[in-house]
Symmetry: C2
């Protein structure tokens, strides 16, 4: 598939240079998995986008408009019938120069369509290797939980992963609390208890994290959301990662600590498979 | 003057949608005052840009190339002979999708030229009103001191200023330490001691702040750089702000606290006037 971008149903290759997304990272984005030609977890993506709009003071576009623009991008690609990735960028549009937005700014919607990111079977079965990034997430941040266009910390973290050839990098804050991965959320298992870091200070609240939380809750195994020290992660019985594209994968190694995929991780993968994320099993 | 943007000496109105500046705020910028047709504090801007490039892992363009692109923008505008504002945006260019940059990315240089921001005489003489923003700066941040394209905290802070009709908003961190203004650096005076907040955790290290520091140091009145609690600012004898465009202005009011411009502020304005910032006096 050839990657392509669309704006108001027309192919685009450029954005206005005075777009606040370019000038200040003033905007939000969502990266949505396409499966069988349809956006997966659409409602979760729309709800996170709406939360971001509210926090950034951008008017949330009509969901129908977003969906139609996504469908245009899908129809123009061969993802229309199969798998792919949709990226929606919602920028704060154009305003006067300076940090302050003008009155009545109009957000701009851009929709990109890309090939699907597929993980190997062995990643799901045996697990992936992660590292701990040197890059610390700053917090408490007014942007905690949101997926904004201010992503330099993740760019830094991802560069570390590439240099170390790690599948993912765990990002911790200045107090060595694990927050999330550069592109994933993190779960640890202690005995039969599944725990995921609170994202009140920083980090991105992933839609697949939400699906894991809601799916476990519905199975009477509520996930505990609280601070997780890096030392606790190292001592936990299982670790797994969630991401909108790949679902859930076990972690088999973090530096000198190794794990075998455990019962809770397998249970999570099975539960997700029944929730429209079959690639996990 | 009509605002205009240039890239490689040609007028541009658009940037590639896959530019990492737009997708992730992966880049840096400088806003440079033009006086008598020439960029003011050019070397300071170049040194900060080089520091940012080093931290972001972007290759710093040749200074001569940047200067020539700035000159092209100036020549094409009537700022060529007078006052204006140049904005250089240096983005990390285009790479593969995802936070990780590709190998051998090539940074893109964009140069915008705008009318000069001019303050009223009364601002310099009587001072300006500031507020304390509710938006807290996150820290410690890997981006401390840098002027990156990740500027949402400043966008939030500036929105507060506009809503409150304040000239500037002071930004504090979670521990109520004053860091800087949304578009300026802050100095307080206690007796005869001039103090400015350390920017090791967050904030932007402005070029005019550097000029103030170096100018005071050369006059045997070194400015103390350390943490400044908001409570200490409220109790200080003088407060003033620095910014590359306007130089230095006194603060006359912060919420219920009022000041008259004091001796150290006036001395700073006089010293700067002798250093190529005549608008201060």
């Amino acid at each position: 598939m050839t990657p392509a971008w669309f704006h108001n149903h027309k192919p685009v290759e450029m954005v206005p240079i005075d777009d606040r997304g370019f000038q200040y990272g003033d905007g939000l984005f969502e990266t949505i998995a396409i499966r069988a030609g349809r956006p997966r977890l659409w409602q979760f993506h729309m709800e996170r986008l709406a939360t971001g709009c509210e926090r950034l003071g951008i008017r949330m576009p009509a969901e129908q408009d977003l969906r139609e623009q996504v469908d245009t991008a899908l129809d123009a690609s061969d993802a229309g019938a199969g798998s792919g990735t949709i990226k929606i960028v919602l920028s704060a549009g154009t305003g006067p120069r300076g940090y302050a937005r003008g009155k009545d700014i109009e957000a701009r919607i851009f929709v990109g369509v890309f090939p699907s990111n597929v993980l190997s079977r062995s990643a799901y079965e045996e697990g992936v290797d992660v590292m701990v990034c040197e890059t610390r997430l700053a917090g408490p941040s007014v942007l905690a939980g949101l997926k904004t266009l201010n992503r330099l910390e993740q760019v830094f973290g991802r560069s570390e992963c590439v240099a170390a050839n790690a599948f993912e990098g765990l990002m911790v804050d200045a107090d060595e609390r694990v927050i999330c991965g550069t592109m994933s959320n993190v779960f640890i298992v202690s005995g039969h208890t599944v725990i995921t870091p609170a994202l009140t200070r920083c980090g991105v609240a992933g839609v697949m994290r939400r699906l894991v939380l809601e799916t476990f809750a519905a199975s009477d195994k509520a996930v505990v959301i609280r601070d997780v020290a890096l030392a606790e992660l190292r001592q936990s019985d299982e670790v797994f990662l969630s991401n909108s594209q790949f679902g859930v994968v076990p972690v088999r190694r973090c530096e000198d600590r190794q794990w075998s995929p455990g019962d809770s991780t397998r249970e999570c993968q099975r539960l997700l498979a029944a929730q429209g994320v079959p690639e996990c099993t």
